[in-house]
Symmetry: C2
Subunit: 135 residues, 2 copies
């Protein structure tokens, strides 16, 4: 289940992308347009800033700005960053302790294949694709 964190993050990025690229967009504006609580969105955007997906500019006339072109962001990386992981099962998480049943587990291949499927899907959709309805 993908939480609002990931979903709001995608919508925030899309909103930025849809605005004129040479303008810094205040959070309040996006929050209103997307109908998301400003305070809550703020928390999510902080993750995006830390992950260098967007740049925040303080002070009057400030706001947020993309650091790349819309077609250079994949949904996968946004989700991975905001959700913490895209792994479907705990044992496929990067920082998971090694499972003692790994060598005999008959379900592991299924999870692995599914994991590839998921990654393949989300890492091949860009913000630009979403905006242009190419998905």
């Amino acid at each position: 289940m993908i939480s609002t964190k990931g979903r709001y993050a995608i919508r925030f990025m899309m909103d930025l992308a849809e605005q004129s690229q040479d303008r810094t967009v205040p959070l309040e504006e996006t929050a209103a347009r997307q109908d998301i609580s400003k305070k809550y969105l703020e928390m999510i955007v902080k993750i995006l800033v830390k992950g260098k997906l967007v740049k925040g500019i303080s002070g009057k006339g400030g706001g947020y700005r993309l650091t790349r072109k819309p077609e250079e962001y994949t949904v996968g990386e946004i989700l991975e960053l905001t959700e913490g992981t895209l792994a479907v099962v705990a044992c496929l998480n990067e920082d998971a302790e090694q499972c003692p049943r790994e060598s005999i587990c008959k379900t592991l291949p299924m999870w692995r294949k599914f994991d590839s499927l998921v990654r393949d899907y989300f890492f091949h959709i860009t913000i630009a694709d979403l905006i242009n309805g190419k998905v």
Copy 2:
């Protein structure tokens, strides 16, 4: 993220399938073999019983039994039953209130397609497949 509920349920079903079909297998046995807390597994199996995926027989000589052949169970239905839903985002959940943004939501098609992908994957893998390493 698929929780232990769904994962343990699959392993339980596989364990039953691997035992002689004309035998009722006590939970304690499976719990030991699969290294899962008996009490916790009990709770999960209750869901499987309620969903008619397995039959429980009380009393001495009792235990659990599959109600169909291993190749007639899909991983999808087991997960859907135990996890409550397989939907990736809240708005695709069956009993979700209608989203007011549905008609203008540019991400919805992406979620829908992903949902199909997930279903297509898990509803085409059977317990028999897992046992025979056909996945």
